[in-house]
Amino acid sequence: MAKDGGVSCLRSSEMLNVGIGGMEPPPLDLDEVHVLAVDDSLVDRIVIERLLRITSCKVTAVDSGWRALEFLGLDNDKASDEFDKLKVDMIITDYCMPGMTGYELLKKIKESSSFRQVPVVIMSSENVLTRIDRCLEEGAEDFLLKPVKLADVKRLRSCLTGDVKLSNGNKRKLPEDSVSVDTSLPPPPPPLSLTLSTDSSDSSPPLSPVEVFSSPLSSPEDDDDVLTSSPEGSPMSEESPIRRQKMASPGLD
């Protein structure tokens, strides 16, 4: 059974890429989508990990923004060559986390030259417009309302591969507005601001990702930092045409 303290998964069925104890993780398939998942909640980490694996993603799950930056090699100013080969196709992060919020992590990723093209998805249990706007304006690819469902992850997955088979594969539409796509048409061009790592001209083999295990969590800070100064009618950035997820779902607190 998984222990507390940031360990994402210790069950044999899931642990295909343990990087401790001398076990070498299997080499990463260039075609495989690799997602870095960041969430301080162990339960949520297990769930998102499973959601991603079931949609054929390779997953590295960490329990904090700092661990994510460490994994990406962004935790110090010194640029490291080995991280140039690290293949991360998407980063999905919780918003409310102690120490560094998902928003702060998003900013750091977008400031980095190596990873700014990687789509970052924010997850939050709270449907706060100003929060969503802030993240989208900072370059978040999408904003998912927790609890995350299989359909949400399938949609993200289809966006990553440009697959049109899902009827709501177009991120611009709300689920209620989605129309079924005629699969006889040629696939549309990849969505804006997405750069698939597999298209990279770097032919060096990428590093195999490892599960990052961390020390026990520090005590959480005040979690809610809703901006009251942003105007509610702030327009979405033209560079990030992202649809808002579940804006009017009933039953949410």
Partner: protein, 155 residues
């Protein structure tokens, strides 16, 4: 002829439906079941087990914080409640989640008595759910041991 397997399957179906109808579980639990397959046959049981461990830990934190008579850090309690609300939401523990909403309001308004009441209720509620899910998983095991398949229950 009503075999043991069909009896157990009917019990399982009825019990599952009752858990949803009585508000113990919501559709997020159904979502978790979608993630279970032959490769991960115990996924739901494992996740809820982690959830109950989380409950124990967080409720312990809340109790300790509320125990600091005259010097209760309500934001600390609130932070633990927020975490519990999140994980209960992720597993479909509907009643626990609902209690967390009320509990959070008590923390925000620094209502000590309210917090203590909510803490007691949350403690009772997660233990109640734990027992019910143990019964449910036990039914599953009995069905499998009797050679049957666990029925898909549409809520």
């Amino acid at each position: 002829m009503d075999t043991l397997v069909s009896q157990l399957q009917r019990q399982f179906r009825d019990y599952t439906i009752s858990l949803y109808h009585q508000g113990f579980l919501d559709d997020q639990f159904t979502e978790l079941k979608k993630l279970q397959d032959e490769c991960s046959p115990d996924f739901v049981a494992e996740v809820v087990s982690l959830f109950f461990e989380d409950c124990e830990k967080l409720i312990g934190n809340m109790a300790r914080a509320l125990d600091q008579t005259g010097n209760v850090d309500f934001s600390l309690v609130g932070s633990s409640v927020h975490q519990l609300k999140g994980s209960s939401s992720s597993v479909g523990a509907k009643r626990v989640k609902g209690l967390c909403v009320t509990f959070k309001e008590c923390c925000d308004s620094q209502n000590f008595e309210g917090c203590v009441r909510c803490l007691q209720q949350v403690d009772i509620e997660y233990k109640s759910l734990k027992a019910k899910l143990q019964d449910l998983f036990s039914l599953e095991q009995q069905i499998v041991q009797a050679g049957g398949r666990i029925p898909q229950v549409d809520i």
